[in-house]
């Protein structure tokens, strides 16, 4: 397997890295959209994330990544193995699945296993990418170029957490809860607003425009290309630090309390920006909690909320074509006007 560039060795792009870590702490934040210049390490960051995440437990050799423990949520096979007493949990890496452009629906959702059908005459279901991404991440580069019907399918499943396949005489349903990460370049076409809204956080990335960071990018990339193994070893400690932050953050999350003033702040901010729907408030809250957890702090504060407000809200503002400033600026403006209670 090819070695991935270490997550912690990515120069700059703090907002993007933070958003991915927040989703690692609390996947219920929803998907992450990364839009911006080409070559800013969007794919590198997502692939690097795979090497950072702590291992997870899976029930047996389950193809749907069933979570051990809750028998009511097992797939048919796991249930069968459990009653036979052969179900042994094992540790595995959190899946970060790539959905390449040109993928067809049968591979995304799953379909009849053609080989088994043709050779053995057996009617078997071949799980797709959605099954593989369960409890992990599903990454789509150039999400704005993906065929609309696939995007609709993905969003449907991402929202419900269940993939239902009814085709070729098959009727299958399996859990598919994953963090959808999409990246792209807005100059090649934007996403429909109703799609934007489905993503939890939205990140704008830009190429670094100062000489030192560019030089640093070139030097690190060069070192990696020359000797990937040594480079990864060099960044191992930094990666491990981030990993332990994520692990501790997850543990903290459940016991974390959310003060009322935080809830109030979230509602006021959304009101000021004219963001409709609860989704904005909810994401704001979850992201602030996840950030607090990531920092090991006791609970979310107003400053956590301020730190996540732009990525949580910038894609939810109603578009005003005659307002020149980009939506991130509008969120910042609203934040500046909010008086700390």
């Amino acid at each position: 397997m090819a070695v991935n560039y270490p997550f912690s060795a990515i120069v700059g792009q703090d907002e993007m890295k933070q958003a991915l870590l927040l989703a690692a702490v609390d996947p219920s934040i929803g998907g992450i959209l990364i839009f911006g210049d080409r070559g800013t390490g969007k794919s590198t960051a997502v692939r690097g994330l795979a090497g950072l995440l702590p291992a997870m437990q899976v029930a047996g050799d389950c193809r749907y990544n069933c979570e051990p423990g809750d028998a009511s949520r097992y797939c048919t096979r796991c249930r069968g193995q459990m009653s036979a007493g052969t179900l042994k949990p094992r540790q595995t890496r959190v899946p970060v699945i790539d959905l390449p452009l040109g993928a067809t629906e049968d591979r995304v959702a799953g379909a009849l296993d053609l080989e088994k059908a043709l050779v053995a005459g057996e009617k078997a279901f071949e799980p797709g990418l959605l099954a593989g991404a369960h409890r992990g991440f599903l990454y789509i580069d150039e999400v704005n170029l993906l065929e609309d019907h696939l995007v609709d399918l993905l969003l449907d499943v991402a929202a419900s957490g269940v993939n239902i396949v009814e085709r070729e005489g098959l009727s299958v349903r399996h859990p598919a809860r994953f963090v959808l990460v999409g990246s792209g370049n807005p100059e090649e076409g934007e996403l429909r607003p109703q799609l934007l809204d489905r993503f939890g956080l939205s990140i704008d990335v830009a190429s670094p425009n100062d000489v030192p960071s560019r030089v640093e990018v070139v030097k690190r990339r060069d070192a990696f290309d020359r000797d990937p193994v040594a480079f990864v070893a060099k960044w191992k400690r930094k990666n491990a630090e981030l990993r332990s932050k994520v692990v501790k953050g997850r543990a903290l999350l459940d016991s974390m309390e959310t003060p009322d003033e935080i809830l109030e702040f979230a509602s006021m901010l959304c009101l000021a920006l004219g963001v409709d729907g609860l989704r904005g408030e909810l994401t704001l809250l979850r992201a602030a909690r996840a950030l607090a957890a990531l920092e090991g702090g006791p609970g979310p504060t107003i400053s956590h909320m301020r730190a996540v407000a732009v990525p949580a809200l910038r894609h939810r503002l109603r578009r005003d074509p005659l307002d020149e400033s980009d939506s991130g600026k509008r969120v910042e403006r609203a934040l500046a006007e909010m008086v700390a209670p």
Partner: protein, 584 residues
């Protein structure tokens, strides 16, 4: 190779150099963007390039319209039917592993297909998730993109950003095509490459230059460093020097800085250079070549040096150098009963007479029944397929609509009219998400017309290029009509439906040649309108004057256009009226 004191290498020399560098470091440089029409120069260059590749390395030629399945691979239907079990066929990218892919007419490539190639270049492998197959093939190839585009046409961005080297063969004459590259040098260089080192100052300097000329992509910085290193390897040296850095700047960014005598050279190297050729400053390119001073000089000179015109255009408008073509992306106005376009699924009845059979879907349909049918079959066959299993491909054709605004930006009404159309452009774009239509804007004023916004779907781009709109001067109506017609024709050829919207008071007073003589103005306008009408281009002429002018009505009739009176055309009204016409 050039000695430090020699004149700037010719375009052909640079082309040879690019051929050498890409074969030395295909991984680090990804490919070559070749701007060139088809012809003997390009053929000769390709021949030399292929001569440099190891003889057993595969060379795959593909064209821009290649279907996804041929690009990435998929199910081999023939072998699958023969063998009765799925057989995976490699696509063009995977079968070029260890060699090269030559992409013809790259400027016509669909952006999604380009993105697929781009990902293969990044990952050096192709991920296949289609037709029931989930696998990955190694695809370590260099891409040679042959770009025959004119003017604004160019590579789709996913490729333009990734290809490390760019050369322009359009201005190379047959008599310039001297020399070749020795393949033993290249072979030697491949061995040297891993040990080549580069001083930090050089990395630093190259990064500052790329920033100072407004190159935003970080990939350019990586390509610069890899190109400089490959250039050093080609010299047989293990240390990158300033000359190598200058080579990298030329081949990666197209920055051509030369010593002063360059300006006196009789033949202009490209048309674009002819416009802008200005002597570069005296640079310290004599002896102390390894000195950072000399380097800084080269770089300073590079900054003032001759930039290709399309690069300049990119810099001025703040868009990346390699602009995207208008027709990027997915389908707009949908024609679901198309015979070609992108496959969007299957149906059990032929959607159109003579529809294509989807073999895979048919197999899937038939698969579960094989055992039963085999048991009751009269004859022994490997596969039992019945008519009821047949599944047909449904296609969706991309026929987005492009609205071209041709705006009279002359005189006093200019600002108002421009503001209105600008507002309408943005409103249309904001509302056009689902349909994925495009908008373009042409302004005519002063002595001619100008494309302010090339067809785009992106609100980001539109805002950027419309933020400062020029206005004032005379009304070169004829020129405006012709520019709009040229754009409309181009778009129609790409399969778009086009509506041109003229906002004008209909009073032209500047002829095509920029003169103001009444007769020639009238003659030119008449000629332009006649051409427009003859082309059958769809248009609306909108009169925004407080009092409707009969002149405008005449113009609309002459253009074969619809006439609309919208006094105080608010952007909203304008957008609504046009939006209504886009629907049908």
């Amino acid at each position: 190779m050039t000695s430090p004191a020699a004149a700037l290498p010719s375009l052909w020399d640079d082309a040879l150099l690019a051929a050498a560098l890409i074969t030395i470091d295909p991984k680090g440089l990804a490919g070559v963007h070749v701007r060139s029409r088809s012809g003997p120069v390009r053929d000769r260059w390709l021949e030399i390039l292929i001569g440099l590749v190891e003889p057993e390395a595969p060379i795959r030629r593909i064209s821009a319209g290649i279907p996804d399945i041929r690009l990435t691979g998929g199910l081999d239907i023939g072998l699958t039917l023969d063998g009765g079990r799925p057989v995976v066929e490699r696509g063009a990218l995977a079968s070029a592993d260890g060699g090269m892919v030559v992409l013809g007419m790259a400027e016509r490539m669909d952006i999604s297909a380009a993105a697929v190639i781009g990902m293969a270049l990044d990952n050096r492998s192709v991920r296949l998730e289609r037709d029931g197959i989930s696998t990955s093939h190694q695809a370590r190839f260099a891409l040679i993109a042959l770009d025959e585009g004119i003017d604004d046409e160019g590579l789709p961005t996913p490729l333009a950003d990734r290809l490390g080297l760019r050369i322009d063969l359009n201005a190379v004459a047959l008599r310039d095509m001297l020399g070749t590259v020795s393949s033993s040098n290249v072979e030697q260089a491949r061995k040297v490459l891993p040990t080549v080192v580069m001083r930090d100052e050089l990395v630093n300097a190259m990064c500052s230059v790329s920033i100072s000329v407004g190159i935003r992509s970080i990939r350019a910085a990586l390509h610069l460093s890899n190109a400089a290193r490959a250039a050093a390897a080609l010299r047989g040296s293990e240390t990158v020097d300033a000359e190598d850095a200058a080579t990298a700047l030329r081949l990666v960014l197209g920055l051509r800085a030369g010593p002063p005598e360059q300006a006196a050279e009789p033949e202009p190297e490209t048309e674009s250079e002819a416009d802008r050729s200005q002597p570069a400053e005296e640079q310290g390119s004599q002896q102390e070549y390894n000195q950072t001073d000399a380097l800084q000089d080269i770089l300073v000179a590079a900054k003032d040096a001759v930039l290709p015109k399309h690069l300049m255009a990119g810099l001025q408008s703040g868009t990346p150098v390699n602009r995207i073509r208008g027709d990027a992306g997915k389908a707009g106005a949908v024609r679901n009963k198309a015979r070609r376009g992108r496959a969007i699924g299957t149906s059990d009845k032929p959607p159109v007479p003579g529809a294509r059979l989807d073999v895979l879907a048919t197999l899937r349909q038939a698969a579960p029944w094989q055992r039963i049918r085999a048991a009751s079959a009269q004859c022994a066959r490997r596969l039992h397929i019945r008519k009821s299993d047949f599944r047909y491909l449904r296609f969706r054709e991309k026929t987005g609509t492009t609205v071209i605004f041709a705006v009279d930006a002359s005189g006093s009404a200019a600002l108002e009219r421009l503001a209105e159309s600008k507002g309408a452009v943005e409103l249309l774009l904001a509302e056009c998400y689902v349909r994925r239509d495009q908008v373009a804007l042409i302004a005519f004023r002063g002595r001619g017309s100008e494309v302010l916004l090339a067809p785009t779907r992106s609100l980001v781009r539109a805002k950027r290029s419309l933020s400062a709109l020029p206005g004032g001067g005379g009304t070169p109506l004829a020129s405006g009509i012709l520019t709009a017609l040229a754009m409309a024709t181009g778009l129609t050829q790409k399969g778009q439906s086009v509506i041109t919207v003229f906002l004008t008071d209909g009073r032209g007073n500047i002829a095509i040649d920029g003169g103001t003589a009444k007769e020639s103005v009238a003659a030119d306008t008449e000629k332009a309108t006649r051409m427009f009408r003859a082309a059958g281009a769809r248009a609306i002429v909108i009169d925004t004057a407080k009092r409707p002018q009969p002149r405008v009505e005449t113009l609309a009739r002459d253009l074969g256009a619809e006439h609309l009176v919208l006094p105080r055309a608010e952007p909203k009204n304008l957008a609504r009226e046009i939006g209504m016409r886009m629907e049908n």
